[in-house]
Symmetry: C2
Subunit: 140 residues, 2 copies
């Protein structure tokens, strides 16, 4: 199966960095940090639609997403969080947890990942991951 | 509170038409049907972030969204469903349940609601709502 969430760690690593395993998914820090604190929450199995999950998986997935959003909210103080599953082409279920800021890009509009990325140093990524991990109480 | 989901039925009705009350939310057919079958699932209380909900509310909300997506999938046979909560400006929690088609608008990209809308006759809206209601087994 040609899915980089399942089979291509190198490609995945070029886009995002692992933060933590959660109940039924894994949280990553998105390398493009134009939305400061943006994370991706990837469902652990290869499923493509929310209605393919069992009720337990649905609950655990939404709790994982809510926990990541709450943590991003505490660490980076955005004005709103956007949550989205797209995946027309790369269909493995993953939520974009995207902090939005009143004075930041695309405020009041859907976020976009097709403009020039904001790339940080590895040290800065590590710092953000540490800050998030510190407040992300996995499994609570 | 200036929220049209809470306080302005006329404004709400200009954008979407009610389909059914669900467990913890209400499903609407979006009037702009450029994404054939697009629905909005609105949380019944005024909350603005997923992490403000109790675990029961989180489960019921995601189940409502999954049920609407499954039904839209059965009725309209899209190639993928997109699911998104934005709400920078109108923050009352609501999911866009947006069917995407390989030969339709924004395939492979985030959906957009800022281009020319596709408006149907009232009869055609009623037909789509009937089709969705018929397969939407509320509370299962």
């Amino acid at each position: 199966m040609c899915c980089y969430y399942c089979n291509d760690e190198e490609k995945l690593n070029s886009l995002m960095l692992p933060i933590s395993k959660l109940r039924t998914s894994t949280a990553y820090l998105f390398r493009d940090q134009k939305y400061k604190g943006k994370c991706i929450v990837v469902f652990n199995e290869h499923k493509t639609e929310l209605f393919q999950l069992t009720p337990t998986q649905q609950l655990e997935f939404i709790q994982d997403v809510a926990d990541v959003a709450a943590t991003v909210h505490k660490v980076f103080s955005p004005d709103k969080i956007n949550y989205a599953i797209y995946g027309d082409v790369v269909s493995h279920l993953h939520f974009h947890v995207t902090p939005k800021y009143k004075n930041g890009p695309q405020w009041g509009m859907p976020f976009k990942d097709d403009s020039r990325p904001v790339i940080l140093s590895e040290e800065e990524y590590s710092k953000r991951i540490r800050e998030i991990k510190l407040l992300l109480n996995v499994g609570e």
